[in-house]
């Protein structure tokens, strides 16, 4: 142990919620450190900002539906956060995207109305805000389109995508573009790096243009650049003379990685620190307060002390909450009490794949101020919160943004007093 490092706040978790909390704390003047076992949800999710897509019917007006959801499910995170917090945090994010490290890149749309965007299998999926690089995929305005894939990318199958979109009433055809690769197992990230190169892009566009018909938009897998996506996308639209859009596919998610870069730049730009590979392995407590957490990172252990902690380490998906082989569910990060765990005689999972699984809503128990039960200086954000089935609801980013922001505000408004007291 190299002695304790002291911060005003320590955020545990490097997904969207943790990065938002960290960045906003730093912007508010707190000395903040984000501890992350690894990169989080951003690299897995499509990179869209989904507030509420299904409740359980497809949602058109997410803020309105959010109000209905809260009335029906008072245990849902949105019941604690409210629509205003979602709106405010989404505005904050849009501003950070526009002032961020990817020149010209922005998110478009608004929270009043979802639009439908094609997935790689050709389903239409509702999102509120999407990167500009996806915006022209809006299923309601799409008339004629061509899905472009490449055999080099096994994670995107344009024929299947086009055929399913056809069943949705969109006149979609598909073509394959030739891309030469130096190894057969490419993913979208490897190809995205090539789209950052203007010369390579120009050659690609030249070959593709020959295969396109007049008046059709072009949908490509989400791989149009990682450092300069705005440049890559705008250049392709210009060269092909038509709307071009990205379609999200299997992880690693290129648009998600862009979002991560933007959030990381916001955190660091405001003076915050990010430690990757730092899994929290234990916590020191004094009564009902957590005083420090210890991490085990390559080479050495370290301890981080702070008057405030934000638990944004995720739920069962990240491993922050674990169901062990003796069927005990616990918070592996801080050992906090959980909510939503089925009783010992109740089923944890049901045989029907499509049923709501009893384990789906497990999270760290909190009060109305996101304060963890039994730990007065720990606030909980993101997928660690109980009550949501975000992958089915399409609510992950809305909850992450609003709860990360709320946690930061709560620390900033209360933290000074605690820091002085300490």
């Amino acid at each position: 142990m190299r002695g304790e490092l002291h911060y005003d706040a320590v955020v545990i978790g490097g997904g969207t919620a943790g990065m938002v909390a960290g960045a906003r704390l730093a912007e508010g003047g707190a000395r903040v450190c984000v501890l992350a076992k690894g990169v989080g949800s951003t690299h897995l999710a499509p990179g869209t900002i989904d507030v509420l897509g299904y409740a359980p019917e497809r949602v058109t007006a997410p803020l309105v539906a959010l109000g209905d959801l809260v009335a029906a499910r008072p245990d849902h995170p949105y019941a604690l956060l409210g629509a205003d917090a979602v709106v405010e945090s989404a505005r904050w994010l849009q501003a950070r995207v526009e002032s961020g490290p990817l020149p010209g890149y922005r998110y478009v749309g608004d929270l009043e109305r979802n639009h439908l965007f094609p997935t790689a299998v050709g389903a239409l999926r509702p999102s509120a805000l999407v990167p500009e690089t996806m915006a022209h995929g809006d299923g309601e305005s799409l008339e004629r389109m061509c899905v472009v894939g490449t055999r080099a990318l096994r994670d995107f199958h344009p024929a299947l995508c086009a055929a399913n979109l056809g069943r949705e009433g969109i006149a979609a055809r598909w073509v394959e573009a030739e891309i030469e690769v130096d190894k057969a197992d490419q993913n979208a990230l490897g190809l995205a790096r090539r789209f950052d190169d203007p010369a390579w892009r120009a050659a690609f566009a030249g070959r593709l243009a020959l295969k396109l018909q007049a008046d059709e938009s072009v949908g490509l897998p989400a791989m149009l650049g990682i450092r300069d996506p705005h440049g890559a996308w705008a250049d392709l639209e210009h060269r092909l003379g038509r709307p071009v859009f990205e379609i999200p596919t299997l992880p690693p998610s290129v648009p998600g990685m862009r979002l991560y870069e933007i959030l990381r730049a916001a955190l660091r730009g405001a003076g915050g620190r990010l430690v990757l590979g730092a899994e929290v392995v234990s916590a020191q407590r004094a009564g009902s307060r957590v005083t420090s957490v210890a991490t085990r990172a390559a080479g050495h252990d370290a301890a981080y002390a702070a008057p405030w902690f934000v638990h944004a380490a995720g739920g069962l998906g990240s491993g922050a909450i674990e169901l062990d082989s003796d069927w005990v569910t616990h918070d592996r990060v801080l050992g906090l009490p959980l909510r939503g765990v089925p009783g010992p005689d109740e089923p944890r999972f049901l045989p029907d794949y499509r049923a709501e699984q009893p384990m789906s809503r497990v999270g760290v128990a909190v009060d109305a101020q996101l304060r963890a039960e039994g730990a007065e200086n720990v606030l909980v954000a993101g997928a660690a919160l109980p009550g949501a089935i975000s992958w089915r609801e399409g609510s992950g980013e809305g909850i992450a943004l609003a709860s990360g922001s709320r946690a930061a505000q709560l620390v900033l408004s209360a933290g000074g007093a605690h820091a002085e007291a300490a």
């Binding site: 024929a159 169901l323 992958w391």
Partner: protein, 526 residues
């Protein structure tokens, strides 16, 4: 209605039925084989993969032990490509009666099962994860056998000699004319069309379902006592040798390393219904606890999948209905001409996978006698397609091939290293749209991610190859996800639960497969 005519109709496409088809075609008979589902989809495909040395039966059932070692030696040669020569240990753990070890050694000697006692320290050097408290260790020639590969090799071998293999054709009636069985009517699963098959002899090789088929033939009293057992695949080879508890055979006493995983088995519960596949939670716990006795830390490893197999066991006067393990594992060949005065019909059931070839030989020897030409059996020496060079399978074959083809060979399933060309070839050859059929053939989606990454890819490839409609492709994808869930939900804990959650993110979140047009009319309750 279409009609086929053949010498031998085989009902049941497990190892026994496919073995009968292979044996019959080698003897020069014309064969049709039917199964209500895919080949080796029933009991054969639902076991732990152990090619017995015979050690397990050396004390309790010496005849079965003799049969096992005899067949073990043959299958290593004729089905070499399907067999991995992992070897086996029988170990006396602190939980076992130490007196059994000497009985075991004597039993092996008496039955001819090769058996060498080695020092526990030697065994622990070879298998460092074994319980360090083991007191005695015997080395035996256990192996593992890839049953899907074996059954398809048998079927392909038979096909090359003219046999017609019809998976997904369920028997709807057995044709009987007086005291002669003349064939059967089957219905195709895909088309719903019926087909009459006329046969000189009909072989009922339907295993745990043999009683049901015999009933359809109007033959009474063929009673198969189904014994249901669960098996759990763990996400890597915690051991590289087959590990058996050195004790009287009981539950949870075998761990079989199989390809990239290892499998623990099994329980044994009486059931009335051979289609009973439910997995009781207490049996999962028992299996994990038993694993812990052989390999400490077993419970901390990741369980990938659980399944049940139903053994076809004949009733025996000595056994009660609730203790199926005491019923003989030896096979039963019922010649219904002798037994019931019904010509043209034989039933083969019971037995174990290791002895399927012998069961097929006995069956076809009886059938051949009925045909009046007594043609000799050649399955002892004739290699199956793919096993001509006699080289047993080596773990690492797939990786070795991949490393030679880094630029050209696209891998679709990383867990099991299934390349795209192999997937495309298999889809074409099988002419199937069922991704679960492909899974059994190639092990696609059988690794840690349970299809999380490869099944979207495979669906895209399936759709692109066959001119399959998107609706059918979507159906294949969704059916695979539902089928996978059946085998995973009872063992979701630890990292495998994380994996399941990631897979849910991919399919329900990123791809939104539950809202593909028209495929799932009912909304998901939240």
């Amino acid at each position: 209605m279409a009609t086929l005519s053949t010498d031998v109709l085989v009902i049941g496409g497990g190892a026994t039925g496919a073995g009968v088809a292979w044996d019959a075609s080698l003897r020069g008979y014309d064969v049709v084989l039917v199964d209500r589902a895919d080949l080796a989809e029933g009991t054969s495909g639902r076991f732990h993969g152990l090619l017995h040395s015979g050690g397990r039966y050396a004390v309790k059932d010496p005849d079965a032990a003799r049969e096992c070692i005899h067949e073990n030696r043959i299958l290593r040669k004729i089905a070499a490509d399907c067999v991995e020569d992992i070897g086996g240990f029988f170990v006396t753990t602190p939980y076992d009666d130490p007196a059994y070890a000497d009985k075991f050694a004597n039993g092996c000697r008496d039955t001819g099962v090769d058996c060498e006692e080695i020092e526990p320290a030697v065994a622990l050097r070879e298998e460092p994860r074994l319980n360090p408290g083991i007191s005695r260790v015997f080395r035996v020639p256990d192996a593992n056998i890839d049953v899907w590969k074996t059954v398809w090799a048998l079927a392909r071998g038979a096909q090359q000699r003219g046999a017609r293999i019809l998976p997904y054709h369920a028997v709807v009636a057995i044709h009987r004319s007086g005291d002669v069985i003349t064939g059967a009517r089957v219905r195709g699963h895909a088309t719903g069309e019926e087909l009459d098959i006329e046969a000189r002899v009909t072989v009922n090789a339907s295993g745990a379902w043999a009683g049901q088929i015999a009933d359809m033939a109007g033959i009474e009293g063929v009673r198969v006592l189904p014994g249901r057992g669960i098996m759990i695949a763990m996400n890597h080879r915690m051991v590289n040798t087959c590990i058996n508890r050195c004790q009287m055979p009981t539950d949870g006493d075998i761990i079989v390393p199989m390809r990239t995983v290892c499998i623990i088995g099994t329980t044994d519960e009486h059931t009335e219904d051979p289609d009973d596949h439910h997995v009781p939670p207490n049996e999962v716990d028992r299996m994990l606890d038993d694993g812990e006795k052989l390999v400490p830390g077993f419970r901390q490893a990741r369980a990938l999948r659980v399944w049940t197999g139903v053994r076809p066991l004949f009733e025996d006067a000595k056994a009660s209905d609730t203790q199926t393990r005491d019923v003989t594992r030896a096979h039963a060949l019922l010649d219904h001409a002798e037994r019931d005065g019904v010509q043209g019909f034989v039933t083969i059931t019971g037995g174990k996978l290791t002895t399927f070839r012998l069961m097929a030989e006995d069956t076809m020897t009886a059938v051949s006698r009925h045909m009046g030409d007594e043609r000799p059996c050649t399955t002892k020496t004739e290699p199956l397609p793919g096993s001509e060079d006699g080289a047993t399978y080596m773990l690492g074959e797939r990786l070795e091939r991949k490393e030679k083809n880094l630029v050209d060979e696209q891998i679709i399933c990383e867990c099991e290293l299934v390349p795209r060309w192999k997937l495309e070839e298999s889809i074409r050859r099988r002419a199937t749209t069922n991704l679960d059929d492909i899974r059994r053939l190639l092990r696609l989606g059988m690794g840690p991610c349970q299809g999380g990454f490869c099944i979207y890819r495979a669906t895209g490839i399936l759709h692109g190859l066959d001119g399959l409609s998107a609706e059918q492709a979507d159906k294949s994808l969704l059916e695979f996800l539902e089928e996978r869930w059946k085998g995973t939900w009872p063992i979701l804990y630890g990292d495998q639960l994380r994996q399941a959650r990631l897979d849910e993110w991919i399919f329900q979140g990123v791809l939104d497969v539950e809202h593909l047009p028209l495929s799932l009319p009912e909304a998901v309750a939240t």
